[in-house]
Amino acid sequence: MDNIVIIAVSALGGLGLIAAVILYFIANKFKVYEDPRIDEVEEALPSANCGGCGFPGCRAFAEATVKEAKEHKSLEGLNCPVGGNDVMQEVGKILGLEVEQQAPLIAVVRCNGSTANSPAKIQYEGATSCTFAHALYAGEGGCQYGCLGLGDCVDACDFDAIHMNPETALPEVNDKCTACGACVEACPRDIIELRKRGPKERRIFVSCVNKEKGGPAKKNCAVACIGCGKCEKVCNFDAITITSFLAYIDFQKCTLCRKCVEVCPTDAIWEVNFKPRKPKVPKPGAEEVKKVPETKKEIEVAPAEPKPQEDKKEEVPKDNKE
């Protein structure tokens, strides 16, 4: 009896040993060299696998950074929007390279065609898919550029950062946004844009993408950009351009002086996270509309970050939260 056990154990053990030796030599022979830094970089990345960097997953991005570092000694054009500057600095440290600071971005919904501003003229019944509805019809409010409100962007978000507001039927972005760009891709009408978060989360943008002439645009939506050009004239920094009856504010040039917000006749230009201004000459009926940006306060926290441009500190007290 004992004999059988001994034979079995020694036979199997011997086999295992022989196999191990063979495998050892084979493994050495066919070894594929992989830069250990790839693993290190991957470790430093957020592992969200969101594709926001343009690569299929964090591993692919790590491989790309190491390859780029080897070949070009720079990480230009490679950025992990989810990790932000901290992660990119970390990656730079691993690879021994300087990484330029990038201004953090956030997704901005450029439509204010809420149920109040753009009342429904027709009723949509069908699949809850913006892509389908976009191919089918112009929209309940009649605006063919505006938000359809069926939430393709919400479905696309991996970070729980964008949600539909049932009151306005518009999506709202919260501070969890990592600027991965998934919602931008998902929106069939290109309403969502990645814009600079701005100092203290302050942003100014045109909350409209309607390219129609003033009259027809205004007919469908009370807060449409009519392309009047007032903002373009008042801007001292050439930040505003008007193409096909639609104003666009270049966030790289904008200094957040808020002059354009004041002159906009339809309140299509929004200021977010600014302190309410002193009531100077209140425009008739402008007050309640001006409140809208504040209720749509997207960001609660203002992370410390390098200030890429001078904003008018003396006019804006530090504490802008209420």
Partner: protein, 446 residues
């Protein structure tokens, strides 16, 4: 079972027919005050306007040229002054380029023969016929609005041996083709002869669904005088009028997946197109008017109108004695494949076959439930697809599966959604799948 009627073999449904306007003769609608002519009236590229603001135009004058190979000319349906060339809303609410003409009088282009005489003699040869059809802006009148001349030019190496004329009109409610066959039967037959000459085929079959016995008898009687034209009665089954279904029913030929009917030697044209061909070739008249059914259960006077292209839908409804109070939805086309209109100011276009006014009680969808795997959608699909699978694939973004399972073969007949006991918007997701897969295929080719 010798008396059994021909039909297609896969799937199909039989919705309530509701042909309310079947006995209403075609009436000529008075001219509108203003005609709105959208540039995108056909499948393919939109046409390009060639008139300017303030120009005087006559009926039948060319006002827009084809914008590509698959595109069609547009002629002025009215006479008057061009008010503007601007973005005008189409049936879906999207604003696209259109020409707005203020109607003044009714002055026709001299080259058009406006008499009622029937001209039997076909003087033009095949090539000239196709050229004429192209020039006169003819498109498929069944609803798909595919430019007719393209269908008449088979790709090299392919020849047709049969011409099928589609008089099925399987959509419930609609009767425009039915009335046209009863009132313009002779013209349709001459149009068929012209198409046969252009295609160089010996045989033509007119397929008519069996719920129009008067049209079948009338056309059979008339067809005796024309060699090579036969009339075939078909079983009442939706979508009998689908191109591929009709070929299967009449000739028992199956068009391969992703291919055109010419692959099996067939060309299918609508009876409305045959009539338009007659007018274009024999009378030199472009496609400027068509028969439109205005119908609905609550409509006081369900009618068939001969309408100039560009007439606002509102005028048609007024002519049918107004919009009933109970109306919940106005559909452009039939109840199965038509789309709801976003506004009543949109004009009649070349592809409008009917205006259907649905009462409020019938115009809403039932709430969606979970799929119970009853497989009814698969059973009724006339293309042999699995709608539940395709719609799910499209819903979750697996367009690779949708493509593999041949979503592009879907003819959007809506039988699956009609039959679904859980009221799942199957067709919506199928259309989404088709849009996305179509885009993927186009990108791949680039």
């Amino acid at each position: 079972m010798t008396g059994r009627l021909k039909t297609f073999t896969l799937g199909g449904i039989h919705p309530e027919e509701n042909k309310l306007s079947a006995n209403a003769p075609i009436e000529v609608l008075p001219l509108p005050k203003q005609a709105i002519i959208p540039m995108g009236q056909n499948l393919g590229a939109p046409s390009k306007p060639i008139v300017n603001r303030g120009d005087e135009v006559k009926v039948g004058q060319l006002i827009a040229e084809a914008g590509g190979f698959i595109s069609a000319n547009i002629h002025s349906p009215v006479s008057g002054k061009v008010l503007k060339i601007d973005n005008v809303p189409d049936a879906s609410g999207y604003k696209r380029t259109g020409i707005v003409i203020n109607v003044e009088g009714d002055e026709w282009d001299e080259s058009i023969d406006r008499s009622d005489d029937i001209r039997e003699n076909i003087e033009l040869d095949g090539k000239e016929i196709i050229e004429r059809i192209k020039e006169k802006g003819l498109v498929g009148m069944g609803g798909a609005t595919f430019p007719t001349y393209v269908k008449l030019m088979p790709p090299p190496g392919k020849t047709a041996d049969y011409l099928l004329i589609n008089g099925v009109e399987c959509e419930p409610y609609l009767t425009s083709d039915h009335r046209l066959m009863l009132e313009k039967g002779k013209e349709i037959l001459i149009g068929t002869k012209i198409l046969m000459k252009a295609l160089n085929v010996e045989k033509a079959i007119i397929g008519i669904e069996n719920n129009k016995p008067d049209a079948i008898n009338h056309m059979t009687e008339l067809a005796k005088a024309y060699e090579g034209i036969e009339v075939q009665a078909l079983k009442v089954q939706y979508p009998q009028g689908g191109e591929k279904q009709l070929i299967k029913a009449v000739l028992n030929r199956e068009v391969p997946s992703g291919k055109l009917p010419i692959e099996v030697g067939c060309v299918v044209q609508n009876v409305g197109t045959a009539f338009a061909v007659y007018e274009a070739v024999q009378k030199n008249k472009p496609l400027i008017e068509r028969v439109v059914t205005v119908t609905g259960k609550a409509v006081k006077k369900p009618s068939n109108f001969m309408v100039r292209i560009g007439t606002p839908v509102q005028e048609l409804i007024d002519a049918a004695e107004g919009l009933p109070e109970s109306t919940g939805k106005v559909i452009n086309g039939g109840p199965m494949m038509g789309k709801a209109l976003a506004s009543l100011e949109v004009p009649v276009v070349k592809g409008s076959s009917g205006i259907l006014l649905m009462p409020e009680s019938e115009s809403h969808r039932k709430p969606e439930n979970s799929c119970i795997r009853c497989s009814k959608c698969t059973y009724v699909c006339p293309m042999g697809l699995e709608p539940f699978l395709l719609s799910k694939a499209a819903k979750v973004g697996r367009f690779d599966i949708a493509e593999k399972e041949l979503v592009m073969d879907c003819i959007e007949c809506g039988s699956c959604q009609y039959t679904c006991p859980a009221s799942i918007p199957l067709l919506d997701y199928l259309r989404l799948g088709k849009t996305m897969v179509g885009a993927i295929i186009r990108n791949r080719k680039k």
